[in-house]
Symmetry: D3
């Protein structure tokens, strides 16, 4: 049976950390769906169409990676697309505490979906989309934090 994982996030914007987790996850899964969760109540910083375009650009040469938008619960989306795994990167202990809460409750409402974690590379462990947005908002240079193939000005 094909092993499909969902890699969920808001990707506002995608960072080198995200890119790295997906590439490494491909050794573990047959297919990875990079799933941009759209939240009608939270507008985001970059427009959603732009965020999707960037995702498509970054993974254009990866046949086994698909980009999708979803609404609602991540585990429901997993069931829709026949994914049995959620892939997550772990950077810090705070990340872990947050992910544990979500992961353990997901396991109750969708026992067949397993959340799988891999460790961020150390050089990416400080990168978060929220700090990247903050730097961009103030006119700082974010090129060191986003995938090398992207240009965000």
């Amino acid at each position: 049976m094909e092993k499909i994982a969902v890699f969920p996030g808001s990707f506002d914007p995608i960072t080198r950390g995200h890119e790295s987790i997906v590439h490494r996850g491909l050794s573990l899964f047959d297919r990875i769906i990079v799933a941009l969760g759209e939240n009608p109540d939270k507008k985001g910083y970059f427009p959603i169409d732009q965020r999707i375009k960037w995702l498509e650009e970054v993974f254009q040469n990866e046949k086994r990676v698909q980009i999708k938008v979803y609404h609602g619960l991540t585990v429901n989306f997993c069931n829709e697309v026949n994914a049995s795994y959620i892939l997550r990167g772990l950077r810090t202990a705070a990340d872990f505490e947050f992910e544990r809460g979500i992961g353990q409750m997901n396991k109750v409402i969708a026992p067949s979906v397993e959340t799988v974690f891999i460790l961020s590379y150390p050089e990416y462990s400080a990168i978060s989309s929220s700090i990247v947005r903050d730097i961009h908002r103030h006119g700082g240079d974010i090129s060191a934090f986003i995938p090398t193939s992207l240009k965000i000005s």
Copy 2:
């Protein structure tokens, strides 16, 4: 002297974790006041009347548990109702860090009120009202996380 504890929260909604802490706290205190803190600036997800009704339902057979609404500082409310204790459940290290800040500052402004902690049972340690709301908002089934006596649809 009667030992009275306040168990404060927004209970939006009450979870099995809350219910369990109150029941176990009854071995320690003569009376527990489940105190719903109303914040005029934050509307909450479930209407406040609904939340109170659920609390009353869950604890209807506990003579030693009362449900009250309060405004302002928790320690001031403790003084009003002659409670010398605040009861809190601890689930995670992040919980602890948060509670420590509040607890230590409370001790300065109201030295006679002692905050007392007990550990969540492991099976409830992942349950938080905010994740429960999130599941409910997206149409997921929350029955595994709220008291068995409640029906929230």
Copy 3:
């Protein structure tokens, strides 16, 4: 029914932090048994007789505090002395993680014994017996960390 708590530790040596937790715990319990756990495999730094003498000195005026030595599991000792509570102080997130493991397993092997936590006062939150021993071993002055009524040279 009398509320009896055990306050377990190796008290090698007793610190101001320990002393403070016991005094504050007396508002919560009718009686507190300060229980020095003797571990035949670990000799300790100060002789056990000395440690007990210090405990007795510090609490000599507290009628509701008793000093005892025990072996084996803390929960078994609680059952022997009819204590339904274990009292613990929490200083740091690392403390919490450690206590949670012990506390949750204790709850399984002795469901009737409840572990109750109170927060260390900020000014005692850095004091640990192991650092105190280290300072003493190197001839440093430990008087700021041990109860004011004690003289350890």
Copy 4:
């Protein structure tokens, strides 16, 4: 290509937490090698032969699980047995901090080996072999913490 994972540990003794991680890991990997790391300098509590016998008993009906003993670095053992993955369970933030150090350094000395984490079930998150040993040493009942198929007296 066959996906092989190593699940390393000292299993002194195996707990329900270990058992659960292996069973869940089988959905992710084709084969899991439960690898008991023998450390000549550290004797352990239960004899190594006994620990292996217990592992074999617990997983006797899982064709895809093998039990092995190894010495030296875990990543070297992975290379010997053609395993591209190390499987680990995460219980607490302290676990995570520890695993991150090991995992990130392993990634440097053996870039082809990926460490994969899954979350302990909440009900197993407090169980550690070291606390189990402590209970056993003092004559406590450990049956609630070890696999149901085992009898350790």
Copy 5:
């Protein structure tokens, strides 16, 4: 070369913890710029003019401390004022996790600026501006948490 440090914050309001870090930082740096970061999107609780006046009052006798308002990235402001250091106080592990993310990304976008941390004194480690605001909002007495030279009613 003169050693200049920026001590950034929103100081809404300044606490005893902030005051203490600046005074201790003066042993390390020749000059400290207390820099109030103005965020046009976040109004704050106390008016910005009031916050600046309090800062000026607290440090009026320190020739080596200057008060400034800035917009945008902290590291850009450091470059403008020729500061090679950012001074930060650390209270809790959660503080540290937060500061690490910011500090490591700052190091990438402005490698010449070094972030330097000192530990909060234990008695100030529970004080945060956000809890102080909360107490003030509800009419509580905040005088124990703000510099002794200030009167905020």
Copy 6:
């Protein structure tokens, strides 16, 4: 007045992380004393003479760095060598919790000595001497973790 810092450790062995902290610390201090704490009760893995030789090799071109061995309390050694600062690198939240305990107690027994922290670079944040020793003990290659100028076989 000359600003002198002590950088204490057991350097068993020195890592790239240590080397980096000292080099960066030189921007903050006039002189740094790399102080190898000798503990008569703990033999260490590498012989102490070897560890000193490595330190001397790594910092041979830094006129402002001195290598010394000390016994007893670090703060006492600071006083002997007229150092008003202890320099420490922070890698993880666990590091922070540990350092806070030591740092805050040091501040009590030697109020004139300030502990100053800088953040490890992300790429060094996973490196610890204890994991390096473990790899070396098992014949692994440690060259990626120790200063490039060293050869340890």
